[in-house]
Amino acid sequence: MFNWFTPKRETWLFRVNPALKFIVFFAFLIITLVNQSLSFAISQAILYGILFYVFSGYSLKKLSLLSIPLAISFLSTGLTMLLFGKGEAVIWQWGLFKISEESIQHALLLGSKSLSFGFVGFTFILTIQPVLFFYAMMQQFRLPSKYAYSFIAAFRLIPAVTEELQIRRNALKVRNIQFSKGFRGFYERLQSYTVPLFAQSIRRAQRIAVAMEAKQYQMGAARTYYYPTRYTGIDMVFLLVMICSLSSAFFLSIYR
């Protein structure tokens, strides 16, 4: 599973400080979210698409595999808006379904937004190492170490949680558990999975916390780091390139 995330080549994006990259990409997401202009949304989607397809450093096969969910989300967000969206200039109507010029515009806007989100998100996830990201958050952005280490520890337990979930699922299957219909059934399902899972995870988390404190992990104490992260020249380049390309996408969409 984790092997899957080894890139074909390490592009310059890999050498950017992960915390800085996160802040910049998160700002991109917020810009994408609040933007209401269709042409800017499309030019943003193209810009982030270039980031994803050219600079993530993964093979075309993997990139196209990852594009499938992106295409689905583009279609699904767009289609609902296309069929049920508000609009005066009706082009086609059949029962509750109604396509109008406005709803086409809106569908395209939504679709481009969801594409942008997908491209930015994947580019970020494909080009960072999670542990280094948290180290950089502590060192460059002063995130208290208790949060960073809790996140790292909890993320390390994901495989255990997934395995437990599978075991529980099989156990319920073997015992041929039948759930009721309707909401009651959902509750039964939820309860039969969550209660053992949470009980186990809480115990485990508590034991880890006790062990860490026993090994002199202190909240709020000044500390040194095994992996030092810092800003380098490439960060400056990254910032400049990102600001320039976003603003050129903006101006291109205005003065087309």
């Binding site: 937004k113 998100g121 996830i125 909890a154 309860q191 209660v195 988390a205 508590q206 916390a209 860490m212």
Partner: protein, 189 residues
């Protein structure tokens, strides 16, 4: 009010992570309910608001709803739901947190937990509005978000409280919550 200890923090984040994993698998249920999709989909949506209120009901300390919500969202983001869920997690967690804060973190009833879910629902509606999802016909809007709010109340209020009670019965909560004064006085008798 009690501050978060390291144990509390780790457990809170762990809850977020477990919910993240569960939400990944919860998608399977969507396929089960496919024939009645649009309505059932919204009625199951409440699961996505559960994590913050659930963590608060369990730990009963300030900050837990927000932190668990962010943790759950960041796991979902890494698990392929897309990084925009981080924004939703942040907004939903913050809304639930503010609601609990409004009651000075002293109320843990079904009603308050359910209201926290509805607050999360409102926050996600606000984000949807900015995103552009909300440019639907008015009837579609009311049906969609009405069902979602009902589902939020059921999941974060009723289901979360019931599951926390079931967990209390397992005895695992004694690891988290400080011992009551009542229990000390019982020792004296």
């Amino acid at each position: 009010m009690k501050k978060l200890k390291f144990t509390d923090l780790l457990i809170t984040i762990m809850i977020g992570v477990v919910f993240g994993v569960l939400m990944k698998f919860w998608d399977d249920l969507y396929t089960v309910v496919k024939p009645i999709m649009p309505v059932a989909r919204q009625l199951l949506y409440g699961m996505w608001f559960m994590v913050g209120p659930f963590a608060f009901l369990l730990l009963r300390k300030p900050g837990t709803a927000l932190i668990a919500s962010i943790a759950g969202a960041s796991l979902s983001a890494f698990a392929g739901h897309g990084i925009e869920v981080l924004m939703y997690g942040l907004a939903q967690g913050l809304a639930a947190e503010l609601l609990f804060a409004a009651f000075r973190y002293k109320r843990y009833s079904i009603l308050i937990a359910g209201l926290a879910g509805i607050a999360s629902c409102l926050a996600s509606f606000g984000l949807d509005l900015v995103y552009g999802y909300a440019a639907l016909e008015t009837w579609a809007l009311i049906v969609k978000y009405g069902l979602r709010a009902i589902s939020a109340f059921i999941f974060t209020g009723i289901f979360a409280v019931l599951i926390v009670r079931a967990l209390e019965a397992t005895g695992v909560t004694s690891l988290i919550r400080p011992v009551d004064k009542k229990e000390y006085t019982m020792l004296d008798q």
